[in-house]
Symmetry: C2
Subunit: 356 residues, 2 copies
């Protein structure tokens, strides 16, 4: 039942191709060494360092490894080297569709590069986030933080221990991937202006969100450019429910077009307006942010400024891998483009909106 030196047995019978070992524990480089008749360290070199071993020895070892169905023990490798071929991704809320794309993008890039992704969520809590980050940091090669809730100082602290990339945020000295909101916002505001709107309301996200500020500033700038009036309205929480609650304020503001911090707010707002008999888009146009899953389920379908979340995930993982593979200088803040996705919730103003 034991390994070694089956090589020169002609593999006549069917079980000759079965791995020689029978126990459930997997083969080690020592088994390979015995089978191939070389030293374990030679096996180690053949399998990790390329070109450090003669071609025929290499072949001998690879064949033996294949025969034994050898798979490297990640822990044994990680112990001396510290390398784990694992990345961590922490998101604020697993059920928030904004993050789905990020998760998928990061996962696919990681897998493609033979890394494994570990996922954790912070449940929107800065403390939980930090705890999770600390815990995972001991196990992974690098960390991706998507829309982190903790403060800059802590992020930098983590970044001193292992490479960190942040998404939807900028932190000095930490590489990041952020959507460049201006293009999408510009398109949206120009479209609103062209459709006769003169006043735009921006429904803000959580005050501590870095992104809501960027978006508001983008909206403000684009409105100035197009000579539109604009006003910011706070929201209780960035969810469908929060969107419902802000509907009264929106109507009271006299704006005929609304842009919201995210699509969830937009959807809730639309539901509430429709329930109150306010036609969308005839009386009020609505533009969301992100183009989340389900944004086109509504009637009318939601016009929104799409952030390429999958690309964010992909780029963040790629950036992290670059750093891990020794790139000294990486672009500190990678921008990805946003674009307007025009659907039914925005359009020409019919009933003249602000006669007062």
């Amino acid at each position: 039942m034991s390994e070694s030196r089956t090589q020169d047995l002609s593999d006549s019978s069917a079980e000759a191709r079965k791995p020689v070992r029978s126990g459930k524990s997997s083969a080690t480089i020592y088994d390979i060494a015995k089978l191939a008749g070389v030293n374990p360290s030679t096996v180690s070199r053949a399998l990790s360092k390329p070109g450090r071993v003669s071609a025929k020895t290499q072949k001998l070892i690879e064949d033996a490894a294949a025969q034994l169905e050898y798979r490297v023990n990640p822990f044994a490798r990680a112990l001396p080297t510290g390398r784990t071929n694992t990345l961590a991704l922490i998101v604020a809320d697993i059920t928030n569709p904004t993050f789905f794309g990020i998760i998928r993008g990061a996962e696919s890039t990681a897998t493609a590069r033979d890394y494994t992704l570990m996922l954790a969520e912070s449940a929107e809590s800065a403390d939980t986030e930090l705890t999770a980050a600390r815990r995972m940091l001991t196990t992974v090669d690098g960390l991706i933080l998507a829309s982190p809730r903790m403060d800059d100082a802590r992020i930098r602290e983590l970044a001193r221990e292992k490479p960190v990339v942040v998404i939807n945020r900028q932190v000095d000295g930490v590489p990041s991937v952020v959507p460049d909101v201006n293009k999408g916002i510009g398109e949206a505001v120009r479209n609103l202006a062209a459709n006769g709107h003169r006043k735009v309301a921006y429904v803000a996200g959580p005050p501590q969100s870095w992104m809501t500020t960027r978006r508001w500033e983008g909206v403000k700038a684009a409105c100035e450019w197009s000579h539109l009036e604009c006003v910011q309205l706070p929201s209780s929480k960035p969810t469908v429910d929060g969107g419902r609650q802000v509907a009264r304020d929106v109507v009271a503001s006299g704006a005929t077009a609304v842009m919201t911090y995210n699509d969830l707010l937009a959807i809730g707002l639309m539901q509430e307006l429709q329930a109150a008999g306010v036609q969308v888009p005839d009386r009020i146009s609505i533009v969301g942010f992100d183009d989340i899953f389900g944004a086109d389920f509504t009637t009318p379908a939601l016009t929104t400024i799409r952030s390429p979340m999958t690309a964010c995930g992909t780029e963040a993982a790629a950036l992290l891998l670059e750093v891990l593979h020794g790139a000294e200088e990486v672009s500190p803040a990678l921008q990805v483009e946003t674009e307007l996705v025009l659907r039914g919730s925005s359009g020409r103003l019919l009933a003249s909106g602000h006669p007062a």
Copy 2:
């Protein structure tokens, strides 16, 4: 901010609270041993095996550990023991909202029990799924497969190496968590019957899906019980688009109520019917499955049979942990209840539906 013996030190100077070590690498049990004046193996016992060490030594060691901000090196621990405190979860499609709940449930249970969750997706491919499973299996203590696409034999093969739990599937000899569809289906069909419907169409999912068969059988049985006619219609794919495509067949079938394999199909179907001028629910009632995120964004909101996906994830993780912690006998197939969520897409039949 820091733990350990800062209590009786007046925390005068700022660096008094800093850990004693200066380098970036973290403390080991040897550092603790030196600081506490005991042998490293004593430290190991104090920190893992309870009651194996005298109370005062225990305290000494714990204080030293806290002072050094010691955190165990998972690799060093995993190497001799094989335990990693890590679970793997493989889902068919990260962007399919059906899995969000599962992911969140599993993640929260794992974290609560001090395990970490590793996530991978199979992109709906049985091969990718198997590859991912094999790769992760070397690294984790156990594996959760959500709606696996590979065949029973391979699942059993994996289960021989490490504990496995499947969700939305039953495999002989492998513990599983499956929604019991009958309750929800029964509620739905009774409701349809009470609203005057006489013929129900079931839009099926992918033929290889274990679940679509269960649901069809449930629908068939419930319809028989309520003396309703029922018919099964195939779909091209279980997505919004697939739902649109099946709309013609639905109308042609003469059914006045439709139940679909999942909510995506239901949403697509509703969009297409409305586009064709067929009133929902006045002419055709629609009932989906799962109650995914966004099911209530549509107009009318979608009536659906909710599967408690979060509970599935929670239960699966808990089951797996039970097995890992030595429970010999675990219930082979855990059932979770489903329930009807009544919204606007189903209701009383107005125009008499099948006069032909």
